[in-house]
Assembly symmetry: C2
Homo-oligomer: 251 residues x 2
């Protein structure tokens, strides 16, 4: 029995942003592991088996998927966005490293996707137009002190910042604290973009200055992009402004 | 006359990684502006007009595209990867900000794509599995001192680093200097990934320890990913090793 495990990124949510490569892999899969709402977005056939799990059960989901593949199944593990950005690819690797030897012999394929910050940036203009970083604001797996240190380092170095996992019921104050830290080194006029479900019917998208950025605008699925001191806004008559970061920068 | 300008990311190069949204926009376009090799990858019809230009002419290309759109054409500006990551979206915004008022009234759409670091990361495993950044090593538009400062800040803060534009004929020493700076704060065993044309027939992909990273392995189109101190390698019998960054981290 030799199974196969494919880790798939379906993109930001609009089906037109899922790559043909990911669609073909979904069509060929037998068993599907992932967060329930992500699996709901796939149009699976009756012969394809759904194995939904909660968002916080990444390692047990990874082990279950590897176990199914090692028994000979063609298994898909599904992430929204890109599976390598704060998603299932790292969890699968962790499970392989600490799991039975047979899991290292499985055929493993990771298919990239359009991650949330790219979709939010495209909606806004070009806020990631120069050097940038992506930081998860979840302190479930790393100490909050480390997140604070990273926020200070990257904002002082002039990088645009994309925040993933900005807030949740169990992490209610972290985003407000992050904004407070960023106000120490960035102008209050720095554009902050809140983007959620961009390109989907329930899209939520707003640009506010850092001085007025309120964590109430975000939920678990929001990607928050904070500009650098160079990030600019172009007003346009009758249209949303464009937010962009010039390609160049000074010292 | 009201034209339209669509800025399109075609993904890493494998046509199966171009989103249906980008394909549809290409099918609907009349005039195509972009770096010649990117335009060559599109299967344009005889009635669709190619306007290729050199890689270093981004602002003049942006202005020509905006001018054509303002005259009523349906214009596509084409980038490889994602247009918002060290590509044409920021150049178009710069041109709009400094250009005639009419350019602000144009319908402008940015369509995201799979950027190089996501494709290279997927090929390797999950090296971007925790906090990471993307830095262009080109000092054409920013001083080298700023790049050095950013490399120090992000490596000391524990971020994984994706380097874009690592080397070119006119910038022959920058990548070797970057490796030298990173060796000051990262272990010599830190995995470094060189990925070029991933998923295409001419793919070039290799993983080496930072202590042996040689800039000769890269060219202009290579994306170089340097792990953090936590990034790990899983050996697999008869297959490439997996490179991944665990989701958690300590202080």
């Amino acid at each position: 029995m030799s199974g196969k495990l494919v880790i798939i990124g379906t993109g930001p949510g609009n089906p037109d942003q899922t790559t043909p490569q990911a669609r073909d892999a979904i069509a060929a899969g037998e068993q599907f592991f992932g967060y329930g709402p992500y699996l709901d977005r796939l149009s699976l056939r009756p012969d394809q088996r759904r194995m939904p799990s909660d968002n916080r059960e990444e390692i047990s989901r990874a082990r279950a998927a590897l176990d199914a593949a090692s028994k000979g199944a063609s298994v898909c593990v599904v992430s929204g966005g890109d599976p390598g950005v704060f998603a299932m690819a790292a969890a699968i690797c962790e499970a392989i490293e600490t799991g039975p030897e047979t899991w290292r012999r499985l055929e493993l394929v990771v298919l990239p996707g359009v991650t949330a910050m790219l979709a939010v940036a495209a909606r806004a203009g070009a806020p990631l137009g120069h050097d940038f970083c992506a930081i998860s604001l979840s302190d479930n797996l790393k100490p909050w002190e480390l997140i604070e240190r990273r926020l200070r380092a990257v904002s002082e170095a002039g990088l645009v910042i994309a925040l993933y996992n900005p807030i949740s019921g169990a992490r209610p104050w972290q985003l407000a604290t992050a904004f407070k830290i960023l106000r120490e080194s960035l102008p209050v006029t720095t554009p902050v973009i809140f983007g959620r479900a961009v390109g989907r019917p329930d899209e939520d998208f707003v640009v506010v200055p850092l001085g007025e950025a309120d964590q109430q605008r975000a939920d678990m699925a929001t990607c928050v992009i904070i500009g650098s001191a160079e990030t600019r806004i172009i007003d346009r008559p009758g249209m949303d402004p464009l937010v962009y970061s010039p390609r160049g920068a000074g010292l």
